[in-house]
C-alpha cells in the first residue's frame, strides 16, 4: 500500500473577488522507501502542492477538491491538532531557503533539541542533546560542532543541519523543496549523496521538489512533471527520461545541458509559463507548444491525463489520440 496517495488535489488562491486556480487535479502515489521528483518551472504550483499536503497554505489558499491519503487516513479531514502530530513526526519538510532561516543567536544543537522536546520525541533534555548529536553525525556533521552557531557553518553544513532537524522525529516521508538550489556544484553533489544514503538507511519516502532535471535523474524513482498547475507527465524516471511523451517534457530535456554530448546551441522553450490570472482555455502548454501533432482541440479543451503505458500518465491530446 502506498504511504501517500494524493488524489485529484486542487488548490485555489483567493485574490479579491476571484479565485486563481494554482493547482488543478494533481494525483500521485508514493510507496514507502521510494522517491518522487516533482519537476516544473517557477510558478508551476509545485511548492503549493507540497504546502497543501502539509496543510500549510497561506491564508488566501484553499484546497477546493481532492484527498491526501497518508497511511490510510485523509489528511484533509483531520483536525488541526491531529495534523500537528503528522507534521514533522510523520511527514516532514525541508523548506526552500530554510538553511538561511536558522536562528542566528542560538546554537544548532539547541535548535534541534527544541524540535525534539516540542514534539515529545524525547522526554529529557539530556536525552534530547544525545539524540541531536546522533542526528548531526547522521548527516555528516561532527556532533561537537552542534555547539556552534549557524554563522560558523558553511552553506552546505547549514543545509545538512536543516535536514537533520527535519529528520528529528523519524518521519516516514521527507519533502525537500529545492534542496540544492543556491549551492555550489560539489556541495550539491554532497547533499544529493546524503539524501540518497539517508533514504536507503532510514527507508524514507522522499519527495524532491526542484526545477533541476539532473537532480531528479540522479535521485528519483518516479517523476511528476507539472506545468501551469496541472500534471503534464507522470512516469518512472527511466521512462520519462528515455521515452518522454509530453511536448513540454521533451523540450525540458532538450534544454538540459549534457556534458557528454556537447553541441553548439541548446534548445530553449520560447515564451513564458502562464500567469495564474490568465490561464489559457485549453491545454496550459498550448501557447508555447510547437509540436507538429497539435490540433485545434489543444486550444479549446484541457487534456486529461491518460495512461499510455502502465504507470505512465500523459496529459496531451496527441498522446490520447495515439493510444
Amino acid at each position: 500500500m502506498a504511504i501517500l496517495d494524493v488524489r485529484n488535489l486542487s488548490v485555489d488562491y483567493l485574490a479579491g473577488e476571484c479565485a486563481l486556480h494554482a493547482v488543478e487535479g494533481v494525483s500521485f502515489r508514493l510507496e514507502q522507501g521510494r522517491s518522487l521528483g516533482l519537476v516544473g518551472e517557477s510558478g508551476c504550483g509545485k511548492t503549493t502542492v507540497m504546502m497543501a499536503l502539509l496543510r500549510l497554505l497561506p491564508q488566501e489558499g484553499r484546497i477546493v477538491d481532492g484527498q491526501v491519503v497518508f497511511d490510510g487516513r485523509d489528511l484533509l479531514q483531520m483536525t488541526e491538532a491531529e495534523m500537528r502530530r503528522v507534521r514533522w513526526c510523520e511527514m516532514s519538510m525541508v523548506f526552500q531557503g530554510a538553511m538561511n532561516a536558522l536562528n542566528p543567536v542560538r546554537t544548532v544543537e539547541s535548535q534541534i533539541v527544541e524540535v525534539l522536546l516540542l514534539h515529545d520525541a524525547v522526554d529529557r533534555p539530556r536525552a534530547a542533546r544525545r539524540r541531536a548529536g546522533e542526528l548531526l553525525e547522521m548527516v555528516g556533521i561532527p556532533a561537537q560542532r552542534g555547539r556552534q552557531y549557524p554563522h560558523q557553518y558553511s552553506g552546505g553544513m547549514r543545509q545538512r543541519a536543516v535536514i537533520a532537524m527535519a529528520l528529528a522525529c523519524n518521519p516516514r516521508v521527507l519533502i525537500a523543496d529545492e534542496p540544492t538550489t543556491a549551492l555550489d556544484v560539489m556541495i550539491q553533489a554532497q547533499i544529493l549523496e546524503l539524501l540518497e544514503r539517508l533514504q536507503a538507511e532510514l527507508n524514507l519516502s522522499l519527495i524532491v521538489v526542484t526545477h533541476d532535471l539532473g537532480m531528479v535523474a540522479e535521485l528519483c524513482d518516479d517523476v511528476l512533471v507539472m506545468y501551469g498547475g496541472m500534471i503534464a507527465e507522470y512516469a518512472s524516471g527511466d521512462e520519462l527520461f528515455n521515452m518522454p511523451q509530453h511536448p513540454y517534457t521533451r523540450r525540458l530535456l532538450e534544454a538540459f545541458p549534457d556534458v557528454e554530448a556537447p553541441g553548439s546551441t541548446l534548445a530553449s522553450i520560447p515564451g513564458n509559463p502562464p500567469r495564474l490570472d490568465a490561464l489559457p482555455p485549453g491545454c496550459r502548454f498550448e501557447p508555447r507548444c510547437d509540436f507538429e501533432g497539435r490540433t485545434a482541440a489543444c486550444g479549446q479543451e484541457a487534456p486529461l491525463p491518460v495512461e499510455v503505458s502502465p504507470g505512465h500518465l500523459v496529459a496531451c491530446h496527441w498522446a490520447r489520440r495515439n493510444l
Binding site: W88, S92, N100, H119
Partner: protein, 304 residues
Amino acid sequence: MEALKKYLRKPMGVVGAVMLFLIVFVAVFAPWLAPYDPNVRVEVEPDDILAPPDAEYLLGRDDAGKDVLSQLIYGARVSLIVGFTASFMSMFIGTTVGLVAGYFGGRIGTLLMRVVDFLMVIPDLPLMLVIIAVMGRGLWNIILVIGLLGWTYTARLVRSQVLSIKERQFVLRARSLGASSARIILRHVFPQVMPLVIAQAVLDISVAILAESSLAFLGLGDPTLISWGMMLNFAFERALSRQAWWFLLPPGFAIVWVSLALVLIGNTLDEIVNPRLRTHHLFDPRRMVALVAGAPRVETPAEE
C-alpha cells in the same frame, strides 16, 4: 497608486489623515472661521475677564477678555508652520547627512556620525532653551533650533539603509556603467530610502509641534504670535488658580489631537514602507519552520 490603496485599507491611517486634514483646514481658513480676530485689542469689562463659555464665546474668554476659540484657531497656524518647516528642515539635513555618511563612509562618514552621536546625547529641550534664550524668541529662531537639532534620528535611519542598499547589485551595476557618485546617490539610492524618510518626517512633525509647545509653555515662544504652547503658558500662570478650565484644556487637547493624527499617519506609512515590518508568512522561512515545528510562539530573532 498601489501604496495609496494599501494606505486606505488601514483604518488607523485613514482616521489620522482625516484628523490632520481638519486641522490643516482650520489653519488655512482661520480668518474666516474664527469669530474674532485675537490680535485686535478689546475693551474689557471686569466681568469679561476669564468669563466662562456662553453662546457668544463658545470656549469662554481669557484673562484679557479675548475669545479662546479664536486664539485656538489661529494657534493651529503657528503649530503647523513650525511643525512642517522644522521637520522639512530636519528631513533635508538628516537625509543628506545620512546619504553622504552611508554612501561614502570612511573618514567623512565617521566624522558625520560622531556629530550625530554628539547631538543625540545632549538632551534636546535644555539645549533649545539655552539657544533660544541667547538668540531671542522669534518664530524663525524657534523653527531653526528645532530643525537643526531634530535631524539626527533621520540621519541614522538613512545611513543604515544606505549601507545595505549600496551593497546591492544594482548599485554595482550603475557603477560598472560609469555612473558618477552623485547620479548613483540620486537615482539609485535615494529613491529606495525616500518612503522611509517621508514616514519618519511625518513623525518628526509631531515631535516639532510638541517641542514648540514645550518652548512656548516654558515662556520662550514668539511673543508676537499666539500658539497653543503660549496659551497653555498663560493659562497655567493666570487661569489655573481661578479654575478657568476653558482656557487650559482646549490648547492641550489641540496638541494631543494633532500629535495623535501625525503619529497615526506616520506609523501607517512606516508599516507600509518599512521592509522590516513587511513580511508574508510564505516568504518568511523562519516563521514557516516555526509553524511546522508546531512551536506555540514565533520567536523574533534578536537581530531585528
